[in-house]
């Protein structure tokens, strides 16, 4: 049976939502959404609709959304820390479910927004005895 088309508002139902990876780990928020407008629009592409290609997540993306001096300072800092400019783009094909959280088909360690987590794991929390054990 064909499911009825689902209508949703992007800012309301995608933006700032929690991402959850395929292992049920919390994997950042949706900090922005990538929309691709058809090439020849508006003249040659009258029937074609723009497509959502990816969800974007990571502190650099969030910084750009802030705007103002805070946003500029933050995003400059981010570029210095990560000169490769890698922002995290999650292809829409990896999205498994859109609900009160957004479930992904990939693991959080594949995401660039996870780099800071890795740094704190290796340099802070991992150095404390007992970090790898479940609490008792």
């Amino acid at each position: 049976m064909m499911a009825a088309a689902r209508v949703m508002d992007a800012a309301l139902e995608l933006l700032d939502r929690q991402l959850i990876d395929c292992d049920d780990r919390l994997a950042g928020n949706v900090d922005d959404v990538e929309i691709v407008i058809p090439d020849r629009w508006p003249d040659g592409a009258s029937g074609e609709l723009p497509v959502v290609t990816a969800l974007l997540s990571g502190p650099g993306v969030l910084a750009e959304r802030f705007g103002g001096s805070l946003g500029r300072g933050w995003s400059a800092l981010h570029r210095r820390l990560h000169p490769d400019g890698a922002l995290i783009s999650i292809p829409i094909g990896q999205v498994r479910d859109i609900g009160s959280a957004i479930r992904l088909g990939l693991r959080s360690d594949q995401l660039a927004s996870n780099r800071m987590e890795v740094w704190f794991r290796d340099h802070v929390v991992g150095k404390i005895p007992g970090a790898g054990h479940a609490a008792e």
């Binding site: 209508v7 508002d9 992007a10 959404v33 407008i37 829409i92 094909g93 088909g105």
Partner: protein, 118 residues
């Protein structure tokens, strides 16, 4: 282009009359859920209006019937309008131009209420 670049852009009609600014971008998903969303999520139109607080909170789009006082104070419902994608003529940093007159824009179709996700 990014969703955040579209949000809050000013919208004017062909006569240069201001119609409001972009509150949200309405998407339609016509593929099945579960097997991935490949190319299934498309922009159907823009939700535009004047006040911004209530709309962000979900008022005026049936998702939220919330306490009466908040609904009245924010009264987002009354000035929300819907621009189908076909009427969008151009988009740049200064704003969006739409075809025809702003006067004949309709309120956005109400979103269907869904049950809570399992």
């Amino acid at each position: 282009m990014r969703l955040s670049e579209l949000l809050d852009l000013d919208v004017v009609d062909e006569n240069g009359t201001r119609a409001g600014h972009v509150h949200d971008v309405r998407l339609v998903q016509d593929g099945p859920v579960g097997a991935g969303f490949d190319a299934a999520l498309r922009v159907q139109g823009l939700v535009i209006g004047r006040g911004a607080v209530g709309i962000r909170l979900g008022y005026g789009r049936t998702l939220n019937r919330g306490p009466w006082l908040i609904r009245v104070l924010l009264s987002a419902r009354h000035d929300s309008k819907y621009v189908p994608w076909g009427r969008v003529r151009s988009i740049d940093e200064d704003g969006i131009v739409i075809a025809g007159s702003a006067a004949d824009l309709e309120p956005p179709p109400v979103l269907p209420a869904r049950g809570a996700p399992s």
